[in-house]
Symmetry: none
Subunit: 305 residues, 5 copies
């Protein structure tokens, strides 16, 4: 148990020992174990974007077990997926990688201005599958965000009582925001704050742009000259917005991109005090050996930090 992990656990001292145990499991697993940094492989795109869009670039990914193997071989901290995917590999890979059950999911067969995920799995499922936690998406800015917050309230209560972690994907969307606003610095920072206030243990947000969306916020960012030109500065601001860095904030990689751009982002996350990456398409949509090489580079960057 490193001092850094011990320090991180101390931020969660209102939680029971079961929650702390599962938090320690994630923080101590894989090649980044003990560093306080983490890389998680999330694969919910089959549900969220459809199978071909997700897996045609690397058809091995049609089989959910591929993602377990990838996460294990790469030495990641955890693998997150919906119910069906986890059920497909949980026996074969039992005990080899911490699992996070994504308990709500959204598909694209009906385009809506204010999307609302369905609640597709339970805390009991997470226990039955041997998971360390549940994952839940909220969409601040959408018309039905209140329903999501209230579902999360009940699921978090139940999960924590059973010693499970609560990982919140906080993705602003909906009629309240422009497309550019979804990743605006002020909006992403706000999304991190909302997740923290709702009791999330791990908070997953998108990497913020330098754009500012909310009129009242623009004044403040300018008055106090909050740095936002460099990505590392924006990461730092988002981490600060989640209880001054006392909640684990991790960043998603977004759509597939150029390796160098991606690695630069990782360096910025590290330099800005981010806790790591939750990175899906950029790794599972390429051939395995390439994916492992890329993940190796990512892990090395975090390990240096």
């Amino acid at each position: 148990m490193t001092d850094r992990v011990r320090e991180i656990l101390s931020w969660y001292n209102s939680e029971n020992p079961g929650v702390l145990t599962n938090l320690a499991r994630i923080l101590n697993h894989g090649r980044l174990g003990g560093t306080g940094r983490m890389v998680i492989l999330p694969v919910d795109q089959g549900f969220e974007h459809g199978p071909a869009r997700s897996f045609a670039p690397n058809p091995a990914g049609y089989d959910p077990r591929y993602h377990f193997q990838l996460a294990i071989e790469a030495g990641l901290n955890a693998h997150a997926a919906p119910l069906g995917s986890l059920q497909a590999g949980a026996v074969e890979f039992a005990g080899q990688i911490p699992l996070i059950l994504k308990v709500n999911n959204h598909d694209l067969l009906l385009e809506e201005r204010d999307p609302l995920p369905a609640h597709t799995a339970s805390v009991a499922d997470a226990l039955r599958l041997g998971c360390v936690g549940i994952g839940f998406s909220i969409y601040p800015g959408t018309a039905a965000r209140r329903l999501l917050y209230e579902q999360l309230r009940e699921l978090a209560r139940e999960a924590k009582a059973a010693g499970l972690l609560v990982v919140v994907w906080s993705y602003p969307r909906g009629r309240g925001l422009t497309k550019e606003g979804e990743t605006a610095l002020d909006v992403v920072a706000y999304a991190a704050q909302i997740a923290a206030q709702l009791g999330a243990h791990l908070i997953k947000v998108k990497l913020p742009s330098a754009h500012l969306e909310l009129e009242e916020a623009v004044k403040v960012y300018e008055q106090y000259q909050i740095p936002r030109d460099a990505l590392a500065d924006r990461v730092r601001h988002v981490v600060q917005s989640a209880f001054d860095g006392r909640r684990i904030v991790i960043f998603s990689g977004g759509g597939k991109k150029d390796d160098q751009a991606l690695l630069d982002q990782i360096r910025a996350i590290r330099d800005g005090g981010g806790f790591g990456s939750i990175i899906g398409r950029n790794v599972f949509q390429r051939e395995k050996s390439e994916a492992l090489r890329l993940l190796d580079q990512i892990i090395q960057i975090y390990a240096e930090g």
Copy 2:
């Protein structure tokens, strides 16, 4: 136990001893303990307005523990905040300051004409965190106010059975009112009455302006010449509107303002028979030593009353 506290407790004699115990705890805590006056530090702006708008002016406030410390050092009566914030400090400061868990919250990522907060925490959370009560916002004047009143009915029943105080933020808004009307004297007095009727123990309203909003009310205020030029008179009328002064009404400070203006408001609250202030941005958005100096002045004004 002072005579004044004993008198205030007697107004709540239909409540069980648990509620009276927690009411006594707030009334007897801090530098105003025993006077029947109170100053409470509420910090829900991270959720309600976003993190940068709330904490950039004094970045220490990004850490929820800062607000516990501020309330304790200033000798305030209580600290109120959402779930995440209280969880972040409840162990470290256990037993040092009465806590109020704000169980519904609203964010600004979707502007709505009739805002509706989400129900984000439970009575069980309040007990688990060692709180003396729950806080709940109602928005009289909005389309969905009935849902809020009905949520409050159930939460208040549950909270009181467990001996917890029910603190109601009663903020008129929505399509039924002009912007000026939200703080009109008749509207604020009406909001205080509604909260009292819904069973609130402590009622938080905004300071009323001399404006009158409702046509039928205007006639009455003029016919009976209800004084409303001086703020103290307006405070007196609002307090009278909450069961002739037999419910604790406290006033929020609103946005950050000039010290002298703020202290004049405090004197008016005191002179009008208000029970105190629930004051957030005016204190946590300035550097700590300045905040402590200002709170010291506020407390001295109330202590004289």
Copy 3:
């Protein structure tokens, strides 16, 4: 918040902030507040021994409110009593003294070799009355001890979820023990251990004699030369037996006795590292001014320690 109180709270770090808050309330209340020592006034003798045996020596005690007043005036840490007694004073003295609801009780109208208390009040009652915790008696050594342990398991679970302390009166009795054995050093130490294993926050035991009861234990005490001639040494051993001093163990005074003998016992409790006294008959069975004088002496002894 003193360092000592902070240290004691740290021993209970698997509990939620509500439990820690109520533990802090007891530890910080009264004249011993902050020292880590405590004196509690328990009055369940009306139920346990009958009214005249309990209150005839000082008839003021027939009124349950007398005991609230006595505990408050003496500056004690808490008052413990059955449901009816607490209901009789909880409104009048709301917020003036931490209360512990004794939720099981035994009377003497039927003498049994293996006595079994009745479960007479609930966790909901404790919340409704504004208590900081529940009190529960177990009788290790009796035929029905298992029922008591299992009732305690469920009550403790419910109480802790609501942030309440669990105080266990651990009194060995029954067919398994000789009369002398009930206060034998090995038996009292065993009783403290059992209460600690069942999850008690505060453990109340009788002062142990130098007698040893259990054959197998005798060998060990002699082989390892565990000191037991001085009362302070016996107290030290009992405290050690409750997780090496990391659970609060307090000692009951037993039947009324000579002041000097009683004060010598208090000194021995203090010198042996005991956390304080739960002292009933020796104080409520004498006239109030005398009781206050005696309690003052007791508190001074503990305050020196």
Copy 4:
């Protein structure tokens, strides 16, 4: 509302207004209304002793409506009976006399050393029948007393939440006591204390004899010279044993007896500070005009007090 009734209600200030309302209904009803004294007609002998033993002396009593009429015409405070009896008259006499539903009952078709009543009606029945409270018998001293106390705990919780009074018949019996001991002064006083501790609002006990039953108690009664030669002194001691007179204790008349003896008992109850009588066989086993005459005399005695 007389000062005396106001005073009595003040003793129950931890109860909700519904309970106080029903307590006020009994205290203000009938010819003794407002005096703080009460006479209640209980008729559960049909169940407890069998119909002929109960009603053959005055066959009008076979019809439950007779007892409603008798209590109403005599101007009593309340009528208490089992489910069937109340159902037989509750419509016809709705609103004319406060009703107490006796919710447990015992019959004599199986003689047992440790009798245990059956739980025969519910709080819901009491509400449905318009009762002011429930009545419940406990038998301290019997082997199964714990079951009775625990049933009472749950019924009292439920009844009080619904604003109903809890009237406890506290009758020591069973293998723990001699026949003479069942009405011994120390035992009756102990029974009153137990009922008070279990949360009873009205306590019904038998008139105590001068006998003392419990060895340890004898010493105390003699040492403190507790007067017990005169019945009034014994009544005074029993009333004192129920929270120093702050719980309503009423006395049952026992088997049918000579009028003069009965009236002397009433005077003793009055002079000893008892709150009244619950008197059945002595009135319903005689012809109605005689019964009314006797009740008139009893009421006059209490009215003088």
Copy 5:
């Protein structure tokens, strides 16, 4: 994941992935991780034998945290203890050693011919504390064994649904057996079979002697010449009796003994195909450096196997 662990997991293929995950956690933890062998440190003797008998030989053990540290430093597979002990260390050592919550316990303050443990903790406690499983004792041969089997049925159902392991201490005792019979080969083998049939994942038995207890069994053992002279043969027979070696059977060390004798037993367990040791008094009753040296020798023996 070694082939051996994979093979062991395959024996439990009717269990859900959560159970397999926790089984893998134990099998992969510590210095024997991956070998299919295990050494577990159980410390329930404070409850089962009393504190001094357990901890006086090495007083560091009075503090439950000592045993966590010992198990971690020695590189053991798991630590098993009652509720209070686990609560005392679960936060400090979160994530450092798999924990088994012993959910029933028995004390020696009442000697009974047919002992019956009390059910002292729940599956919810095990989840809250972050345990990998629950431990439960059954006493085949005692009068109340059916109650134990039926409690186990329900607890096992609940535990497995939550992904927890079920570890059964199967200790024949009671009026059905002679003292010698408690460890007779036929009886121990029978106890292992019963535990396996009740659904245990891990079975803990005592080391068997060559004695045969049951008349009908003696005939069979002799007819089929089941080898029982060497301890390794007896171990082999017990393991065979638990589904032909397809359930994990581990052996307890019993009271403190000579090192050489102990290590010979370990070799016999290994050679007989036993899965490991659950060894308490022999290690925690000696000074820590000695305990670590002995555990190192034990682990080396198993690692060779």
